[in-house]
């Protein structure tokens, strides 16, 4: 469930970036992606 939550937040970051074109959303998406990878490593 945490992986799905992280994936959903990444999608949300992409959507927000699509709206206001702020780079911070992509940075958040990358950070959460990395955290999701660390959680799903095993």
């Amino acid at each position: 469930m945490i992986d799905l939550l992280a994936f959903a937040y990444v999608i949300r970051c992409l959507l927000e970036f699509r709206l206001d074109q702020k780079q911070a959303w992509l940075s958040r998406a990358a950070l959460v992606f990395g955290a999701g990878m660390a959680n799903n490593w095993r």
Partner: protein, 238 residues
């Protein structure tokens, strides 16, 4: 999500990077991804098996992926499960790519009068990609197909990046055109059309190259000589 490292999908936002001319974009995304990935080093203290380790590095080395103690299958299970399972997993991973490419390529070069269509199709594929994943028991890693499945996850990451590139490219073009004028939605300018055509060609070329690499990595290699433990044990007894 292991293979979904931002490095693997951010190059497929290349049309947007090329349009905005941001040179540090990939570097910044990689840095943020590594920052998130560094949370992996928080897992050994939380792991009870790793907590027995005396040192921090011992705890990290106790993870199966790093220590190499991945459970092995028997030769018969590998033969019966590997090919069909790998092909089914790859076809399933490529399904969003096929839908996105066919739908947008058929519609976009004709007219851009309905810019909602590519975004809608891409969002549908995103939803399919996110929600239609197999359950925890049907994940390729749990099926134990007998081959390292990191390349499969990387294949999924390629598909995800391809869809992300389309999604961001069409969203950016639509937002930029709506800011400038409303008539530009009806007729694409030559600059945006050239941008999309070059971006799509680059995306397709990169995806083809990476798919060939993935299939080459997944394809069965030459069989290694196997040693059966019961035979060795019986021979040693005799």
């Amino acid at each position: 999500m292991i293979g979904f490292f931002p490095v693997s999908w951010s190059p497929f936002s290349g049309p947007r990077v090329w349009a905005v001319r941001e040179r540090n974009f990939l570097l910044r995304m990689t840095a943020w991804g590594l920052a998130g990935l560094s949370l992996f080093y928080c897992s050994p203290p939380a792991d009870p098996l790793a907590a027995r380790a005396s040192r921090f590095l011992d705890g990290i080395e106790s993870t199966p992926e790093i220590s190499g103690r991945v459970p092995q299958l028997s030769a018969q299970a590998k033969i019966s499960n590997s090919r069909s399972g790998i092909i089914a997993s790859c076809v399933r991973a490529l399904h969003p790519l096929e839908v996105t490419h066919c739908a947008i390529r058929r519609r976009y070069p004709v007219r851009i009068s309905s810019p909602n269509l590519p975004s809608t199709v891409t969002w549908f594929v995103f939803s399919d990609f996110a929600l239609d994943r197999p359950g925890p028991d049907l994940q390729p890693a749990q099926l134990a197909l007998g081959t390292p499945m990191l390349t499969y996850y990387y294949l999924s990451a390629v598909v995800f990046g391809y869809c992300a590139g389309y999604f961001l490219m069409f969203g950016s073009l639509r937002g930029a055109s709506s800011k400038t004028s409303r008539t530009s939605l009806a007729e694409p300018s030559s600059e945006t059309g050239t941008l999309c055509s070059h971006g799509s060609r680059r995306c397709v070329a990169m995806v083809c190259i990476l798919l060939c690499c993935c299939f080459g990595a997944i394809s069965p290699r030459s069989p290694k000589p196997t040693v059966f433990a019961p035979t060795v044990r019986r021979a040693s007894i005799l």
